[in-house]
Symmetry: C2
Subunit: 345 residues, 2 copies
Amino acid sequence: MPQTPLRSAARYGTRPTMKDVAARAGVGLKTVSRVVNGEPGVTAETEQRVQEAIGALGFRRNDSARVLRKGRTASIGLVLEDLADPFYGPLSRSVEEVARAHGALLINGSSAEDPEREQELVLALCARRVDGLVVIPAGDDHRYLEPELKAGVATVFVDRPAGRIDADVVLSDNFGGARGGVAHLIAHGHRRIGFIGDMPRIHTTAERLRGYRAAMEDAGIPVADSWMSLGVTGPERVRRAAEDMLTGPEPVTAIFAGNNRVTVTVIRVLAEQARRVALVGFDDIELADLLQPGVTVVAQDAADLGRTAAERLFRQLDGTPVTPERIELPTRLITRGSGEIPPAD
Amino acid sequence: MPQTPLRSAARYGTRPTMKDVAARAGVGLKTVSRVVNGEPGVTAETEQRVQEAIGALGFRRNDSARVLRKGRTASIGLVLEDLADPFYGPLSRSVEEVARAHGALLINGSSAEDPEREQELVLALCARRVDGLVVIPAGDDHRYLEPELKAGVATVFVDRPAGRIDADVVLSDNFGGARGGVAHLIAHGHRRIGFIGDMPRIHTTAERLRGYRAAMEDAGIPVADSWMSLGVTGPERVRRAAEDMLTGPEPVTAIFAGNNRVTVTVIRVLAEQARRVALVGFDDIELADLLQPGVTVVAQDAADLGRTAAERLFRQLDGTPVTPERIELPTRLITRGSGEIPPAD
DNA sequence: CCCGAGCCTGACAACGTTGTCCAGGCTCTA
DNA sequence: TAGAGCCTGGACAACGTTGTCAGGCTCGGG
């Protein structure tokens, strides 16, 4: 309930206002405003007096009032899934960098992959009158944003497309990346290849799965159900899924991991195996090159994703009329060893 | 210049206000306010009409106006060093979690280790009238915050202490952790131990260095200057520093890495070495257990750091009068192999 | 039938800032 | 010296919301 006020009753020590500054400096209210905003039309001497009063009182302009008056807040909202996920760190950082370049602050929150929480957050940001929104969607219906779009709130979706609404979207080429990664395994002789991924209702997962299927079909390899494990969240379940497909009736010789969290756990499982199993993961992970073997991944550039989205956002804000667009950024296959292991049988 | 308004001239599509809703529902302004805020004293039928009007117009309360009126913003600011650093992800996340539990939003920004930028950011947050601040300081003089503290802005410093001002501080036991880590190396027979760290003006670096010195002194080992490399930022410089101390006249047999970024690079350097060199790093890193050898680290709990700080913040906001306090959280030595390698000579 | 109590509802001021507009004093020129 | 024009400074309204307070309505009891 982000709208609930803080429950505190602590007295908000009263802060000096422009009126106070004006009184102390012996000038009019508007003159203080002019000084604070660097507007012309104030003598050096008067400005001096005002500055002194400001310093003495510790005055800080109240931006709430300013926003109310001006309509613009110079802040943008970022809604992502989980800040603790290393994938979102650089993304968030690059969005912030662009925002800063445009003189805007960043307000952010995590949806924890919960559509309801996403909506709650987005609306709270809108109530704060952010000028724009960068959203990594958790849900698949964003019609609740229609009034906001109409009101001129710039909006860009990242990493996953918006649902049932026409808006800018910046994505990685999940389908192509996965297809390429799986094709890479096939090229190294694998036929029994496993796929472990998150919930298929998440767009990225669905696309990567589609890429997996496409690559298999390209090679004319029928896919056994036991090779695909979906809706797998949390290390324990990933572990079980990996172990299952390694010991089933048709044990896989290679695994394609659908995201960085899956990759990490699969690495752990494979490290315990007697035979050598190939692995390609989606998303790069730190230190992947130092492991034995190095981890081959389909890397997406999180920072670029964020930067592209944020720049797109500010282009909307700059007044250039833009029609919603879908931008897809390429992925890159980084071979480090684990993806080049030949089939064990 | 976070205060500069967005340069855009895009017309902010005019949004409906309570007045519009009132007109459409055929009720008074205040009645709409009551409905929006769930206040009692409105007939079900009237509320119904108002709700319909709200839905039809896509009305969202303007929190700027609300804040102006109420004095509280239900948002807190978080200033950290770099969101892309994996150490800050969990910290930021846990702060957000606590904020959410208290119904507050999180506004954040990165200082990039630049004191001036830190101040600029903090003041921009204060202008937004955040109720509280969680700051990971870049600078060492925070007297500029005095008017804010006096005005009742709750403030907690994390990871590093505040400079020249009396405020709450939540830290890891950097000194004790480093001392323990180095003592661990000494216990495994090392005497020539190197220390590579960031700029010593950063409190954490200074404390860890102090811990290193203390452990060496405890063991009666005189420290050669060539074993200590400070002010080392960026992978290339860390690499050079490591190589230097491995090949100098008194080559080290073990390295203590002052932070996670240093650790990662040192791992790379050591992987290229013929002889085996021991390593203990400050801060845990992902996958540290899967490397050969596993990386022994002094781990601090970033999430706990953030949570503790945020809870402390809201305790201030809840009106309980609290005197500034310095909270120090323990670190934990995690042995995984690299720190237990015996000296090579 | 009248009055009072209690419940809904709405008018109005205030929050702190900025935009508009005007007044007064100054300088410069004719 | 007077008038025009410029520069500085200030009074006032408005932004959208909430708190205060008073008015009108209904209903029950005397």
